[in-house]
Amino acid sequence: MRDNLHMSHRLPERDKPWMMRTYAGHSTAAKSNALYRGNLAKGQTGLSIAFDLPTQTGYDSGHELARGEVGKVGVPVAHKGDMHALLDGIPLDRMNTSMTINATAAWLLALYIVAAEENGIDPSVLQGTTQNDIIKEYLSRGTYAFPPAPSLRLIADTVAYTVEHVPRWNPVNICSYHLQEAGATPVQEIAFAMATAIAVLDEVRPRVGQEQMGAVFARISFFVNAGVRFVEEHAKLRAMATLWEALGRERYGVHDPKHLRFRYGVQVNSLGLTESQPENNVQRIVLEALAVTLGRDARARAIQLPAWNEALGLPRPWDQQWSLRIQQVLAYETDLLEYPDLFAGSHVMEGLVGELLEGARAELARVDEQGGAVEAVPYMKAALVESHRARIARIESGQQVLVGVNRYTETEPSPLTDDGGIMTVDPAVEAEQLAALEAWRAGRDEEAVRGALTELARVAASEDENVMPATIAAARAGATTGEWAQCLRDAFGSYRAPTGVGDAAAAPSGEALATLRDEVARVAEALGRGLKILVGKPGLDGHSNGAEQIAVRARDAGMEVVYEGIRLTPSQIARSAVDEGVHVIGLSILSGSHRELIPDVLEALRAAGGGEIPVVVGGIIPEADAEALRRAGVAAVYTPKDFELTRILRDVVAVVAEHNGIAAAA
């Protein structure tokens, strides 16, 4: 009896900790390699590679859209030489590497395979993950390159290829992380992730045959988010495990319990990290880490934690070290790993899981009605924009508390941010990378590259030939990221994802909004026509939450809003602004390329004859940069601490009024 009791609440031996990673990479392959080696020396147990936006979207450093982005949010990898430099001295046969790469996942995986081969390592021993989830790119993150159908084909091709040739690789990480960043509720996060997994598995099934489906199912892993409501978030993971198992059994005929296990990695929430009193983010991160570790039955396989200062700018190595130490304290100092599942038999947890399952099944049915995840992209996108709108409204009204933001805002000056508290990427990196790329091109066998790309084009145009072998051959020959992607763009066509803003519900008419509407109407009357605003996202940054929410609120305030989605060049934005006859332009950039792109837009506006149109800017913009932008002619700069959209828009209307000689309201 005693023994049984003993056995039921203690584990015979302490669990092995989860894999610890830090999402990292910047500037150049060599600089990132040094960072990785440093992180591994500090006790990190896996790698997590952050690529820069040109690499993620398939452009070489010299492309017009790459401007300002090279080496910013991650490392540029243009060819196998860069991959070699990135992984120099890291034992690939023993390393577990996660690559946050989607549209160009097949290509980066090929570069990784070639780098291993050329180091004498058999690809069959490689372990790691390519994120490779394109649907959430359409829904939230924005680094897609091709239309949905060929994108899904690329995903299925990598799955079919790896199951056979790189069997320990997770070819797809169904990624609900970015859905929560875009405002998803727990129910939406569960349902949309499962819908995406179904779309991928349905695409793979005809390529591999039923006898392989168990192995395929087992290689699909998830990459989830965890917010600060950590009890409910834990329930979410248990619900996902339940749904996943049911899906495997019922839809794909998988029965081996090992194959049916729900495996996930996690990066905890960044959406809730604040610019005000940023030190509070540390406790948020700790609590979110609990969400994915507390219950043994739904514990993460791999964890990466954001840094406390993410809302301020790029974290420094020290900031990332702090986040790694959080994981290590949790895993090695606490007794967390000594017990079986803490929530077995908890009626609270069971109840929460039941609620989430019910909601997720209903939501899945709605997606299914539309013909599945691909067809339902516009529906899901609009649903996310709507959820995020509701979230912001709750924060603005104070109904949802954010400590240090909408409550308890009194603060001492923070010693942590005395020196700015962030890292900046040397602007010289872009030119450096460009020169290195030209040297690479000059040194390779041009004929071999042309031949490999011609073969890739042939395969891409074929109905069902797997693109991986031709992609690997192109990697081996020395082709570049931009060349590979352009070859496929030519074959597949280009695509713009829906913005989701058209269907967003109108904001409830609070007093502040009503006052703003009156002011918009007054200024419009004086202007003689509707107050027209262009909301623009220049460059490759696909984080469109802010732009979308401003667009929707501006509409609700009575403005005529032109919003054309992400990834526009400065000259496209300038041309639209002039042709559309807007009274003001609002630009949003979160990737750190504001120092290059905002002056570019101002210059393009002058060239297009719209130099007089006032410009306001929002984004993760350090104060020193904000000052420089204002000097360059930007009318106002907003950062994450400016969370009240109505107030921002009141300013914008005032800018328009002043600019047009309209007297301030009485």
Partner: protein
């Protein structure tokens, strides 16, 4: 001020496409004080000044939300530009009744070289007026028709919007997606006017699209000889050239002077009613009497001159 406005009109007449944004800014201005300027601009692009009707092909594109109009339009614009034609697009989006605000441009962006002056895209909020068109759309279409080879008026809706679009456009195309039974019903019931060209999008859907084309063909055969074109606007793109040809064919068979004259008169009456309401209409002796009065006016008179004539008539009566 009126001189500057007239200069803008003259630039359009001389096919200076760079004048389009400023011209539209003025035409959209609803302040009574700006009316003389608007009249001055439009006078410069009137048939009298042009020596006949503007040579542009004014194309109306309309259909229910989600039918794929914008993607189709983007593909069509590429075909027209490849054929060397300049294109001005007026895209009308609905406005919120509550706030008056509008989400414009939330549609497939027509991706083009921003240095290409041969393409001009302008979004317009429909405002409070029912029927699909924004208050300034007619005037804008008229002004752009003096400068561009093709002017597109795009509106959202079915059952109402194509009626107003038909008043400004030489050729109207209604865009539907496969399995849109409502359009079929509207056509049969006569709620919807038969368009000049019917387009079924998403032809890549195969059997479903084929059936939709068949159903629409049999429906319109009973009503006239409207061509039905199936298109796929996404790769593999198909049917867009055929659609451009069908629109050209319709335009070639059209009495443009009669159609444009009618359009100007109906537009003037709509503007008059928007300004003076039902009471104003009664002062003219009702809609039919007003239409008869307009039919007696000089066919070359442009919108503001016709509104003046109506106002004079109402005042006299």
């Amino acid at each position: 001020m009126s001189r500057e406005a007239a200069a803008l009109g003259a630039r359009l007449r001389e096919r200076d496409l760079g004048a389009a944004p400023a011209a539209l800014n003025l035409l959209e201005n609803r302040a009574p004080a700006r009316r003389p300027e608007i009249a001055a601009l439009l006078a410069e692009v009137s048939p009298a000044r042009l020596g006949g009707e503007a040579s542009a092909h004014v194309v109306g594109v309309t259909g229910p939300p989600g039918a794929g109009k914008s993607t189709l339009l983007a593909a069509l614009v590429r075909v027209w530009r490849a054929r060397g034609r300049t294109v001005g697009v007026l895209a009308v989006d609905p406005s919120s009744r509550r706030s008056g605000g509008a989400m414009l441009g939330d549609r497939a962006r027509i991706d083009a070289d921003p240095a290409d002056r041969g393409l001009f895209v302008r979004s317009m909020a429909a405002g409070e007026r029912l029927g699909g068109l924004a208050p300034a759309t007619r005037a804008a279409a008229q002004a752009l028709a003096a400068a561009f080879d093709v002017v597109v008026v795009e509106t959202v809706g079915v059952g109402q919007s194509e009626t107003e679009v038909a008043e400004v456009a030489d050729s109207v195309t209604v865009v539907v997606q496969p399995a849109s039974g409502d359009v079929l019903q509207f056509l049969k019931a006569g709620i919807m006017e038969v368009p000049d060209v019917l387009v079924v999008t998403k032809a890549d859907l195969g059997v479903v699209a084929d059936r939709a084309v068949r159903d629409l063909r049999s429906a319109v055969t009973a009503l006239g000889d409207t061509p039905v074109v199936a298109v796929s606007s996404i790769a593999p793109v198909a049917g867009i050239e055929a659609l451009a040809d069908a629109l050209d064919a319709h335009r070639a068979g059209l009495n443009v002077t009669a159609a444009r004259t009618r359009a100007r008169r109906l537009g003037a009456l709509a503007d008059y009613v928007a300004e003076h309401g039902e009471r104003g209409l009664r002062a003219l002796g009702g809609r039919r009497t007003a239409e008869r009065f307009l039919a007696e006016q000089d066919p070359a008179l442009e919108g503001p001159a016709l509104v003046d004539a109506l106002e004079g008539r109402a005042g006299a009566g």
